[in-house]
């Protein structure tokens, strides 16, 4: 059972991305109005906008938080062909009283010649690193070697994907058994475009990213891609948002069987495929333990997918809009202290029959 509460967003144009910080106490939104807003959750549970500023000269497609080990840092990417890194500055006490904070731009990444479609920070064990992907088909990986000086970022890798890229996902696994890995999705709709999902792996010897796999079975434009958090599994799980929701497992083939020094080879299996969204699936994202996948599609719904203890995936929840207007007061959920289910029959079974309970 879910409960929803609403907050007036106040953006002047369409919102493209919303992002929680690591602890779920701050969030960021970005919009076609070229700005990013940051919201903070107070002790009482209310959300307040603590910063709102113009970030780009075009629609802002994505916004994402760095790990709090690096401080309060955001990255945004835009139609204006740039990505930017922002850091929160601890303000004057006056600002604190007014509940406002300031964000300053630490760097602008201008290497792309086209719209930058996604930006994602790498797992924290890799240091302060991020990847961007663009419609020009290039994935760029940047690093800030000194985490106390966020104005110095260097372009470490440029990975040519040959197709217009729409999304990227870092493999969050920090296991020493796995090399850094990044998956790239393409929404290129030209008929010759074959490799819609490519996986690149970092090679310690060559110090470069090399292509490890292409998921040949994905032939339709890919809109989003997400590695699942790894609970100590030896294999990886990857979710794809394309014309349906697809979940793949990638089992690394034992190194002895492959030519040494090359990228890992994987056994790829599809473990789930759902077309309930009717047409295109636009976003996929995993919860923090990697046990539930959420997807959002053309049917205007968000669906939740979960595997039972037999590893069968099923839809366990649907969030959809009913189109009714939101009640005037924001910040109000219907807090319903309930132990029961949305199906009233369980309590009816008792209510209808016995009179109000007498305790012996």
């Amino acid at each position: 059972m879910f409960v929803a509460r609403s907050i007036a967003a106040d953006h002047k144009d369409l919102i493209h991305d919303v992002s929680f910080d690591f602890h779920g106490r701050r969030m960021a939104t970005c919009s076609s109005d070229q700005s990013v807003k940051v919201w903070d959750k107070s002790e009482s549970g209310d959300w307040h906008c603590t910063a709102s500023w113009k970030t780009h000269s075009g629609s802002v497609w994505r916004v994402t938080w760095a790990h709090p080990e690096f401080g309060q840092v955001l990255a945004s990417c835009s139609f204006d062909r740039t990505a930017a890194v922002w850091e929160e500055i601890v303000g004057e006490s006056n600002d604190k009283l007014r509940g406002q904070s300031h964000w300053v731009k630490r760097t602008t990444l201008v290497d792309s010649r086209t719209s930058v479609t996604d930006v994602k920070f790498a797992p924290k064990h890799m240091g302060l690193m991020l990847a961007t992907c663009s419609a020009d088909g290039v994935v760029r990986i940047y690093e800030a070697p000194d985490v106390m000086n966020l104005s110095q970022w260097s372009l470490q890798h440029e990975i040519s994907c040959k197709l217009s890229c729409s999304c990227i996902s870092w493999n969050p696994s920090s296991s020493r058994a796995h090399s850094p890995m990044i998956a790239v999705g393409s929404d290129d709709s030209s008929p010759n475009a074959m490799a819609k999902v490519q996986i690149f792996e970092y090679n310690e010897n060559t110090r470069k990213y090399a292509k490890a796999e292409t998921l040949m079975t994905v032939t339709d434009p890919v809109h989003d891609i997400a590695f699942a958090p790894n609970l100590g599994r030896s294999f990886h799980i990857l979710a794809i948002a394309t014309k349906d929701v697809r979940i793949f497992t990638l089992k690394p083939v034992r190194k002895e069987l492959t030519s040494s020094g090359g990228p890992t080879k994987f056994e790829i299996h599809i473990v789930a495929q759902f077309d309930n969204h009717n047409s295109q699936v636009w976003r996929v994202s995993w919860n923090i333990t990697g046990t539930v996948l959420a997807s959002s599609g053309d049917d205007g719904c968000v669906r939740l997918w979960k595997a039972n203890y037999m590893d069968n995936w099923k839809c366990t929840g649907i969030l959809k809009g009913n189109g009714s207007p939101v009640s005037g007061s924001s910040q109000q959920g219907n807090s319903n202290p309930s132990l029961g289910s949305t199906t009233p029959s369980l309590q009816n079974s008792l209510n209808g029959s016995s009179a109000s309970r007498k305790h012996s």
């Binding site: 929803a4 967003a9 709090p68 809009g321 029961g340």
Partner: protein, 611 residues
């Protein structure tokens, strides 16, 4: 076993038009963010896009109810206790102890029900009163199911006592049975009836009971045949009931609240020595007869029926679907697992199901700002995925207060979760540095054993000192102890502060030696040497000679070392030239002071040697 069936729960979000728009979203540790958007960028919106709302969505609202909190807290105690005594549960007493645990769980449910009931009565508005009442009903259903499971699966009552337990079970949950039994007891043969059933200790064997019961039945039959009750249709009806005449029993349907009440009454009069394995026949027929084809079974009925059929997995599955909270199935399944029932039923994934449910329940607890602490213990008792689940959840707990942070760290340290300790301390250290709370930053760095960050914070301290001429957080630096060894810079900071202390205590000789050693041992960063040498000045200018000749030579060497390297580092910057001016003056002053001190030292040492 079949997977969890049931339709996905649908949650409606007001304000979002799913026909025209889509939604973007993000997961948080306990909540989800959702917002209306349009992904198909090519389409231009017809109307000016209104500013949409952002939605925060969370589940398991039950976690937030303060009454249920007691249920969660107390059942947590029972759960942990059960895990701990597992090894001690042996032999004959094992079953009795497990039954006791089951009864403990049930009494916790009943206590919660009672409290909820009081709230329902005292409710100020009818709506919340209804809410509380519905909660009471659900808790009651849970207790009903648990009680039956206890009788059938844990107590494993054999034929004979089985019916007694079932009678108690029904009596506990259906008040009307009191009136019915009163009627029955008012019949012609109450004494025989009473003595038949109220045998403490049950010294008779099943066969003896059956025999007695047969005699009694025959007597009733005879009465009926003889028309003893012809004058009173009510008594006749009663007699028929006592003979287990189902039709007669069903005529009293209003007194029987439900089919399982009907079932037990039926069994009482027609098959009192029913065997557990035969229960489900009577249960199914009772259900069918009672419903009479007018209505279909409801979730609760299916759950009870599954229990009568001894299909534990079906019971758990149905409960998982009917109840939105994992509390019930997680605790019940765990208890049944301790009774070794899950494995017996299905070896393949019996143990995995217990862990699966416990993990679900514990994860839900982590969304709550204080109940997460209970969740820790549940993860501890999940051997496969408990640890890694705990690692993932615990690092997401917001560290609003120092107290909470210390609590979280203690939990991680107790479990040797070193990476989580390091990460949490780093997060706190970083936050402190950005807020210029250097002392706090330093202590978190030390706890994180993060040498690099300790170096960074120490540098900040030193920089602060240079700018302001004094140290902040003296207490911390003075009491570093062995932690000082974490990084060279930190060691230097500690020692440098010690130098200042010695100077303040007028222990000039010790201070001087320490100052010199900081440079000669290379612990002091070169960038700081000028400051150290400048610190030496007051010692050089004292009336008494503090630095020995040897030491003065060393100081001079350091100074030359420092100044000889300078031209390479010189900037063509104007500011730098100005600084160089100041620097040059300083150097000259130092050279003079050192020369003077050397002279005095030589004289003094020469004189001493001479005498």
């Amino acid at each position: 076993m079949e997977e969890l069936d049931g339709e996905p729960t649908v949650t409606l979000i007001p304000g979002v038009n799913s026909k025209k728009k889509q939604m973007c979203f993000d997961w948080g540790p306990g909540e989800m963010l959702v917002c209306e958007t349009s992904f198909n960028k090519k389409e231009k919106s017809e109307t000016a896009p209104n500013c949409p709302f952002i939605y925060i969505i969370w589940k398991d609202v039950d976690v937030y109810s303060h009454i249920l909190r007691k249920l969660f807290n107390e059942s947590h105690g029972i759960f942990v206790g059960l895990q701990r005594i597992e090894e001690e549960l042996t032999g004959k007493s094992r079953k009795a102890q497990l039954v006791r645990v089951s009864k403990n769980y049930r009494s916790v449910i009943r206590a919660c029900m009672e409290e909820m009931h009081q709230f329902a009565i005292a409710a100020k508005d009818p709506a919340s009163g209804r809410q509380f009442s519905s909660q009471v009903s659900i808790l009651s259903a849970m207790e009903l199911i648990w009680n039956l499971c206890e009788i059938l699966f844990i107590e494993v009552a054999p034929a004979g006592p089985l019916l007694l337990h079932l009678l108690d079970w029904v009596r506990l949950h259906v008040c009307e049975v009191d009136s019915l039994s009163a009627d029955v007891l008012g019949s012609e043969n109450p004494s025989k009836h009473e003595s038949f059933w109220n045998l403490p200790g049950n010294t008779q064997t099943l066969t003896e009971l059956e025999l007695k019961w047969q005699h009694w039945r025959e007597e009733c039959e005879r009465h009926l045949q003889d028309g003893t009750f012809a004058s009173s249709p009510r008594l006749e009806s009663l007699c028929k009931i006592m003979l287990g005449d189902e039709a007669a029993l069903l005529e009293q349907k209003e007194l029987l609240s439900n089919w399982y009440h009907f079932l037990v009454t039926r069994l009482l009069y027609s098959h009192p020595t029913v065997k557990p394995i035969d229960l489900h026949f009577y249960a199914q027929s009772s259900l069918d007869m009672f419903l009479g084809g007018e209505s279909s079974p409801e979730p609760l009925d299916n759950i009870l029926m599954a229990a009568f059929e001894f299909d534990i997995h079906q019971v758990i599955k149905e409960c998982s679907i009917a109840l939105s909270n994992w509390w019930f199935v997680a605790h019940l399944t765990d208890l049944l697992d301790h009774c070794r029932l899950l494995q017996a039923h299905n070896l393949y994934f019996g143990s995995n199901m217990r862990e699966f449910l416990l993990l679900e329940y514990a994860s839900g607890l982590f969304a709550h700002h204080s109940l997460w602490q209970l969740g820790v213990d549940y993860f501890d008792y999940c051997p496969e995925l408990g640890r890694v689940s705990l690692e993932l959840h615990i690092e997401r707990i917001p560290l609003n207060t120092e107290r909470k942070a210390l609590k979280v760290l203690r939990i991680c340290e107790q479990r040797q979760m070193t990476e989580q300790v390091r990460s949490i301390c780093k997060i706190l250290a970083m936050k402190a540095v950005r807020n210029n709370r250097l002392g706090s930053a330093l202590s978190w760095s030390i706890r994180a054993k993060d040498a690099a960050f300790a170096t960074l914070v120490s540098d900040r301290f030193l920089r602060d000192y240079c700018e302001r001429g004094c140290f902040s957080d003296l207490d911390l630096i003075d009491n570093l102890g062995p932690a000082m060894m974490l990084s060279d810079r930190l060691t230097f900071l500690g020692k440098y502060r010690e130098f200042h202390r010695l100077y303040g205590e007028k222990r000039f000789g010790d201070a001087a030696s320490l100052l010199l050693s900081l440079m000669t041992s290379q612990i002091a960063p070169r960038s700081f040497w000028m400051t150290l040498l400048t610190d030496a000045l007051p010692l050089l200018e004292q009336k008494q000679v503090i630095f020995s000749a040897e030491q003065t030579y060393e100081l001079m060497r350091c100074l030359e070392d420092l100044t000889s390297g300078k031209p390479e580092r010189a900037d063509p910057d104007a500011q730098r030239l100005q600084d160089d001016d100041i620097e040059t003056t300083k150097v000259e002053m130092l050279r003079l002071a050192l020369a003077r001190n050397l002279a005095r030292a030589i004289i003094r040492e020469g004189s001493l040697e001479g005498s």
